[in-house]
Symmetry: C2
Amino acid sequence: MDYSQLFPFWTYLNPNEEEYIKSSFYTEKYEKGMIMHRSEENCKGLMTVLSGQLRTYILSDEGREVTLFRIHANDVCVLSASCLMDSIAFDVLVEAAEMTEVLVLPSVCLNQVIKNNPYVELYLYKAAAEKFSEVMFTMQQMMFLKSDQRVARFLWDENVRSGSMELQITHDEIAKYIGSAREVVTRVLKYFAGHQVVEIKRGKIIILDKEKLKSFL
Amino acid sequence: MDYSQLFPFWTYLNPNEEEYIKSSFYTEKYEKGMIMHRSEENCKGLMTVLSGQLRTYILSDEGREVTLFRIHANDVCVLSASCLMDSIAFDVLVEAAEMTEVLVLPSVCLNQVIKNNPYVELYLYKAAAEKFSEVMFTMQQMMFLKSDQRVARFLWDENVRSGSMELQITHDEIAKYIGSAREVVTRVLKYFAGHQVVEIKRGKIIILDKEKLKSFL
């Protein structure tokens, strides 16, 4: 694996640090739905997604979820190392949205390295800032877009991502992704179905007309 | 002014950098309501609030506002230097919420210094991460709290901040602060007034019973 490609701080490591980090890496596999990070419980470290997909979300006391962003292959999950970043003072959950393999750089190792190497700490904070940008985008969508737009954008993105017109997803899952209620999603989907934009089947949604879907974006 | 107190990176500056930064500072005054940052237009630099208060918010195409956080005296506004941070890819507006004086460290100076000093760049990203935490808090409130809780918390915070039971603020301003609609705020305030929690007057709200207000938090 070409670590220098994955981690921009690699060129700023001295030989000892490089050796220490290399020997600390390990991989882990998670089944779909498994929670791999819950702030108060653990602080595993920096996770790089090798395959699959992670979902980062917040949870209300009543169990309502809002998806903040997803992390795809070759992208990093930095909030699972948030214990190393004093300036990050909030809790999120991270779960495997599908079968996912991650490369873990443990917090204990990172903690040691950042003491003497500001570039590694800077890397962590830059990665967090990128997620900040994604959260802001999500927030703007939630605050400012109408429900039909949010559902249409979600379906559009899923189609682009999966390359398939047949999306294996429930109304409840869509609601969690876009931070809405299941009833609202069902209402919008019925409206789309009535206009021949999609066809609703048990556990899946089939996109019938991409041009029509686009008109709702 | 004790810059080392204000800026944690001060101890990591060499004498040239320190001299350059010291000679670059300037102060500016803004009237209430003046917009001091709008991402696409300018990138003034790092602003430290000397007196007054800044409000950071996002704006929809239809003109709806959502307040992300406020910046009080001795705190910094780092998003006004977002052009220096490639990992920050979103636009916010910053306005003076009251008459405000700021100490500006211009982007052109910072840009020069961060080329050779990772501690200054790290400082910027850490400051951004702190705001990330505040935005997450705001987002959780918006997503998960009911309108009456949000209005009650706003009134409570305003009372703590100003030390006064008489808050000079309109329903529309409250709506912007908590990311709600004016009609919703008016409805909640009428409900509070009906329960002798507050008294509504033209352009101001008087808190009548802090214990009752607390019960809505």
